[in-house]
Symmetry: C3
C-alpha cells in the first residue's frame, strides 16, 4: 500500500524538530473536533440521508476543486455545475470524476490535494493514487461506501469524533433543520450561528423583502430603526435558543461607524426607502457592525468579521452559475482605521469577543496582531480560506505570535461546506501548529511542557473557550 | 581550487532535503535553456562580433551592479556610465573593474554575486575570489578570453545550450537584426517580442512622432482609432513573422479599461491631438491593454504585463544618465480592481494567455494566485527583477503554489540584458525550484516521481508550452 | 539549574547550520554594545540612584508587558499604571509582580519572554521559571539585588559592556542630565539625539508654547521662517555639543515636501498663527523633513525617520493613562512617493545619511530595499518595535538583503526605555543575524570568512560607522 498519507506528513524536515513535532502531535491527534464556524448543511444531520454520488459529494460543490480546473480551461458545466440559464451541464458523476482524476496533478502542492488524499485513505480506505487509470475503480468503491449506514451523516459525525459543530444560517432562516435535530433522539451537538448579512447589506438584491420577512419572523416593526434593532435582538435570542454562541459578518471591508442614535435612525430611514447612495449604504453596514458588537455585549454572542472578499469577481461566471463558484478574490483590507469607530465604543470591554479574519496577509503583522495584542475585545481568527493551508498557517503563526501571542488566537475553524473533509482539515491544522511549536522548542524559545500545553490549546482548548462551547 | 560555486549551493541545508533537491536537480540541470522573455541585443547574434572589454561586458551596462556601488557613494561616471551632458566619465575598463572588485563585498548575499561568481568560474574558468588583489589578473584573463572565437555570441549561444531566446523590440523597430539572423546560415533560434509601449503611452516624449512612424511602417492611418488598431494588427503580424510568440507591456499600473468603440475612438482623437488630460492618458493606456488582449485572441500572441515600476525615480540620475541606471523603484500595485475591465471582457477565454508579473509581493497570495487560480486566461510570471533571487523565488512559490498550483505558472524568465549571465540565472532558478519541490517531498506533500515531473516542467516544459515555443 | 536560556537558543534547528551559527556568534557575543538610538532616561546615569522595586523596574513602564495583559482583560491600573484622572491604581510592586507572573504564559513565543528570561538569569541570577509559585521568591531576590551597588545604573552600564549609548531628547529639552554626566567624573559615554517633533508638528497640543520656548532657548525669533530655521540650527549645534550625532523624527507618515523658500515662509506664517488646515499642517511636517535633511548635510548629524505609528489608537486609554501605554498601532506606509521630494533634493548627496525605519513590512522588499540599494543618502534601520523579534529580524534580512545588501543596513538599535533589557536585546539580534549568515554559509552563498566579517559588522561595526560613533 502506497503512502497516500505519510505518518510524518507536514512536519518540519529537520529530524530533531520533526521528532518533537511528532511527539506533540501524538498528544492532540485524537482530541475531539470542535468546529465553531463552518457551512455544512444542517439538513444532513436532520434527515440523515445518504450522500449523493462521489462527484456530487467531493467535487461539484467544492469551489476549490472546480476553480482550479476552470483556471486551466475546463468549463464549470463540464464539472457538473448547473447553470442558472438552464443550459446543458454534465450530470453524470462518473464522467465528472474521470475528468477530475485526469487533472488531479494540477493540485500538486495545494491543500485540496492533501485534504482529498486524507479523505480517500482514511474515510474510504482507498490505497491507490487517484489518476485517470484508477478513476473508475475509486469511483465505484466510494459509491459503494456511500450506500452503507456507516457513511450516513450522523454516523460520520460520530466517526469524525465531532464534539460540536456550528453551521451558519441567515437571520431570516427558520432553523427548521436545527429544530428537527433538537427534537430527534440523536445526541450530536449541531448549533447554528447568526449571519445577518442579508438584512444588513442594502446592496443585497432582496434587501427590502428580506427586511419584511425579518419583521414577520421577529414580530418587530422593521420599518423604523428601533424596531429594526429589536428585530435583531429577537432573532439573536432565537438563534441562541438553537444553540448559537456566535454571529458572523461577511463584509466587503472592515469599515465600522458609530453614529448618534438620531443620525443612525435617519440613515436607516433612507436605507429602508431605497434612497441611500453608495456612501450611505457603506456607512450603514459599518454602523451595523457596531450595533452588533453592542448587542454581543448584551447577549454574549461571540462576534466574527470576515471581510475583504470581492465576491463574484467575474460577472460572466456569476450570471451563468451564481455565487460561490471559485471567483471570489481577496482585496487589500485595512483594519486600523476601519475598526476604530467600533473599537472606540466597545474595544476595551472584555465582555465582548470579536474575532477578526483576513484575506490580506499584509495586515497580520502590521495591524491585526498589534490590535489583538492590545484591545481586550479582540481575538484573531485562524488563517482563512486561501490561507487555510500549510504555508498559510505557518505564515499566520510567524506573523502574529511574536506580537499577539497564542492566547489572542482562537484555535482552528474549518469553515467548510465539505463535510467529509473536516477531519483532514483539523488534522492539517494540528500538524502545522505542532510543527510550529516544535520549531520554537528546537530553537529553545519554549520548554517542551509549554509546547505540549499550547498544542492542546490550539487544537481544542482555545476554540471551546473563545466560542463558549 | 576554491569553491567559487559549491556543487550544493542554494539547496536547503537539511541533509535529507538537500539530497532530494540534488537528485531532482541532476535530472534538469542539463535541459536546454528556453528564454521566452528578455532583453539581449539581437545585434550580437546578427553580427557575431567579439564582446568588448570585461568591464563593458559585465559591469557598466548592469544596473544591478552599478546601483549597488552608487548606493554607497560611488558615482555613475566612475563606473563608466556616460552622461548625456558630455561630462567626463571613466572610459578605462581596467580602472572600472578595479573599482568594482574593491567593492565586490557589497554584493554579499545578493543574486548579482551569485550570477557573477557563476559566470567567472563556468564561463571564464576563473578559480580565484574576485577582490582588489585579484582584479588585474582576472581582468586580463577575461579580456584574453573575449578575443577567442569560442567567446563570440553565437558560440556562447550554443555553449549555453539555448534552445530559443526571445528579445524584445519596440513596435516601431524595423527588426533588421532579426532579419539578418534569419537570412544567415546560423541555426540559432532568436525571436522577437512585440513591445508597443512607445506607441501606447501618450506620456512618451516622442509619442506623436512614434505614431507617425508607426503609420508609415504599417501602411495604416494612425490618425484615427480604426487605423491605429489596424497598425497594431499589422505590426503584430510583422513581429510574428519574425518569430514573435508574445507581446510585452510595461505600464506604471495594471489598470485596464473597456470602453465602447465610440468612446474609445473619441478618446483616441483627444490623445492623438495631445489634448488629453492625465486621467484620459491613463484611461487610454488601460484601454489599450484590453485591445491588445483582444488581438491576442485573434493572432495567438501570448500577452505579458509588467506593471508597477516607477521608472527613473531620481530626476537627477535620469537627466544626467538616462533610463535604466538602477533607479527604477517598485510601487504598490493593485490587480483585483485594475484588471477587472479586461477580465470581464476576455478573462474567461482560454484562447488568451495573459502572463502577469509583479514588483509588489503583497499581491502574490492576496490577488495574483487567486486570480490565476480561477481565470483561464491568466498565468503567473516568475519572480521578477528584484525578486529574481533565491529568497524572492522561494517566497514566490510559498505564496502562490497553494492557491494557484504549479501549472498556472510559466517557468522561468531570465529577463536580462546580460547575455553572459543567462546560464547562471537559469541555474539559480532550477536550484531553487528543486529545493522547493524537495521540501514538499521531504514533508510528504508530494511523491518523489511527482517532484521529478514538476522539476522538468518548471525548468523547461511550462515555458515552452505557455509561450508556444 | 534549568535552562531558562539555552546556550543554543534562537539558532537554526538544522545541526550543521546551528554549528556555523554558534561559531559566528562566539566571535561577536562579547563585542561592546553600541546603542545608537534609544529612550533610556539620562537622569539614571546622571544621578546613579538605585532602581525602584522589581515591578516598577521591569513591568509597569514596559508597554509590551502591559498591553499583553490588557489584551486579556486585565486593567492598566491593576498593573500599576497611574491614571491621569487620579483614580485608584495598584501601587504595591509585589501585587503587580504576582499578577504578571500568574499570566507569564501569555508571553510564550514573544520577544518579551525571551528578554525577561535573559534578564532574570543573566542580570539577577534567577534559576527558576517565573510563574505564580515562584513569583514571591523571585521578587524578593530582585528587590534585594536592587539595593546593591553593583545594580546602580553606572555599574550596570559597565557590566553591560556599553561602549556608547544615545538617549533621545526633545528639541526644547535643556539637556541638564547630559550636562551633569559630562561634568561628573564618570567616563561612561552617554550622548543625546535631537528630536524636534514637538516643535515641528502643529498638531502637538503645546505647539505654540513649544515654539516660544524654542525661541527663548535658541535666542532666535521663532516668529518667522528664517528665525525658526535658525533656531533649529542653534539647537542642533547645542545637541551636538552634548554628544549628539543624530536626529530622530517620529511622523505619522513618511511624506516629505520641497517648497520654494517663499512658499515655505508663507506656510510657516499660517502654521505659526494657527490658521493652517489639515493638509497644510501635513505639508509643513513634510517640508520640515527636507529642511532637516539639508541641515544634516551642513552639520553632519545622521537623520532618522520612524514613520507609520498611529499613536494612542484607543482614545479611552489615551485619555485615562496618557501616551505609550501599548496602544500605538502601525498603519500602511508608503515611501516611494512620500520620500520623493526629499530625495529629489538631497538623495544623491553622500554627505547625508538618512536611516529609514518601518512598521509596514510590506515596504521592505517593495520600496525600502530598492530605495536604499540605489540612493547614496539612504540606509535601512533595523527591524523596529513589533519586529524587533526573532521572526521579525529574519524577515527583515530575507526581504532586504538580496536587493540592498548588508552594507546599506546599519546594525542593531535597541530603541528601548528598558535599560535592564539592553543586553538581552543585543544578544537576540546577534544570535538571529548569526543564524541568518549561517544559513547563507550552509547554502554556500557566503564563504565562512565572509560570514565572520559580516557578523562583526552587523553586531558592532555598522552601527559605529553609520552613526559616526
Amino acid at each position: 500500500m502506497p503512502n497516500l498519507n505519510h505518518p510524518d506528513r507536514l512536519f518540519p524536515a529537520d529530524p530533531d524538530t520533526r521528532a518533537i513535532a511528532r511527539e506533540l502531535y501524538d498528544q492532540v491527534k485524537d482530541l475531539p473536533i470542535v468546529s465553531p464556524h463552518g457551512h455544512t448543511d444542517p439538513r444532513w444531520y436532520a434527515q440523515n440521508k445518504p450522500f449523493p454520488d462521489p462527484a456530487q459529494l467531493l467535487i461539484v460543490p467544492d469551489h476549490y476543486a472546480v476553480r482550479m480546473l476552470v483556471s486551466q480551461g475546463i468549463g464549470h458545466h463540464e464539472l457538473g455545475v448547473r447553470g442558472l440559464d438552464g443550459s446543458d451541464f454534465e450530470a453524470d458523476g462518473r464522467t465528472i470524476w474521470r475528468l477530475f482524476a485526469k487533472n488531479y496533478h494540477l493540485f500538486a502542492g495545494t491543500p485540496t490535494r492533501a485534504w482529498l488524499d486524507h479523505t480517500l485513505e482514511f474515510l474510504f480506505g482507498v490505497d491507490t493514487v487517484l489518476d485517470e487509470s484508477s478513476a473508475d475503480a475509486i469511483y465505484d468503491h466510494i459509491a459503494e461506501c456511500l450506500t452503507q449506514d456507516q457513511y450516513l451523516p450522523r454516523a460520520l459525525f460520530s466517526h469524525f469524533n465531532i464534539e460540536v459543530i456550528a453551521t451558519t444560517e441567515a437571520a431570516i432562516d427558520d432553523l427548521k433543520w436545527h429544530k428537527m435535530i433538537a427534537d430527534s433522539d440523536w445526541d450530536g451537538r449541531v448549533i447554528t450561528a447568526y449571519r445577518p448579512d442579508s438584512v444588513i447589506d442594502p446592496d443585497n438584491a432582496d434587501f427590502s423583502a428580506n427586511l419584511d420577512l425579518f419583521g414577520e419572523l421577529s414580530g418587530c416593526d422593521t420599518g423604523n430603526w428601533a424596531g429594526y434593532l429589536d428585530a435583531h435582538r429577537n432573532r439573536r435570542a432565537f438563534f441562541a435558543a438553537h444553540g448559537a454562541t456566535s454571529t458572523d459578518h461577511g463584509h466587503l471591508t472592515a469599515d465600522t461607524a458609530n453614529l448618534s442614535e438620531g443620525a443612525a435612525g435617519l440613515l436607516f430611514d433612507k436605507i429602508r426607502t431605497g434612497g441611500a447612495d453608495v456612501a450611505e449604504r457603506a456607512l450603514f453596514r459599518g454602523q451595523m457592525l457596531t450595533e452588533m458588537a453592542r448587542m454581543s455585549i448584551e447577549d454574549g454572542l461571540v462576534m466574527q468579521i470576515h471581510p475583504g472578499s470581492w465576491r463574484g469577481h467575474s460577472p460572466t461566471v456569476h450570471a451563468r452559475f451564481g455565487p460561490d463558484k471559485g471567483f471570489d478574490i481577496p482585496k487589500p483590507t485595512n483594519y486600523v482605521a476601519a475598526l476604530k469607530p467600533l473599537l472606540d465604543e466597545v474595544g476595551m470591554d472584555p465582555r465582548l469577543t470579536l474575532v477578526l479574519f483576513t484575506l490580506d496577509e499584509g495586515a497580520y503583522s502590521r495591524e491585526l496582531a498589534p490590535l489583538a495584542g492590545a484591545y481586550p475585545a479582540l481575538r484573531l481568527g485562524p488563517a482563512w480560506w486561501f490561507y487555510d493551508s500549510p504555508e498559510g498557517m505557518r505564515r499566520y503563526r510567524q506573523l502574529t505570535t511574536e506580537t499577539a501571542g497564542f492566547y489572542n488566537t482562537v484555535g482552528f475553524n474549518d469553515d467548510t461546506r465539505a463535510f467529509p473533509s473536516i477531519p483532514a482539515r483539523h488534522d492539517m491544522a494540528r500538524r502545522i501548529d505542532c510543527g510550529y511549536l516544535a520549531g520554537l522548542i528546537a530553537e529553545h524559545q519554549l520548554r517542551p511542557e509549554e509546547g505540549a500545553a499550547l498544542a492542546r490549546e490550539l487544537a481544542y482548548g482555545l476554540a471551546k473557550k473563545t466560542y463558549k462551547l
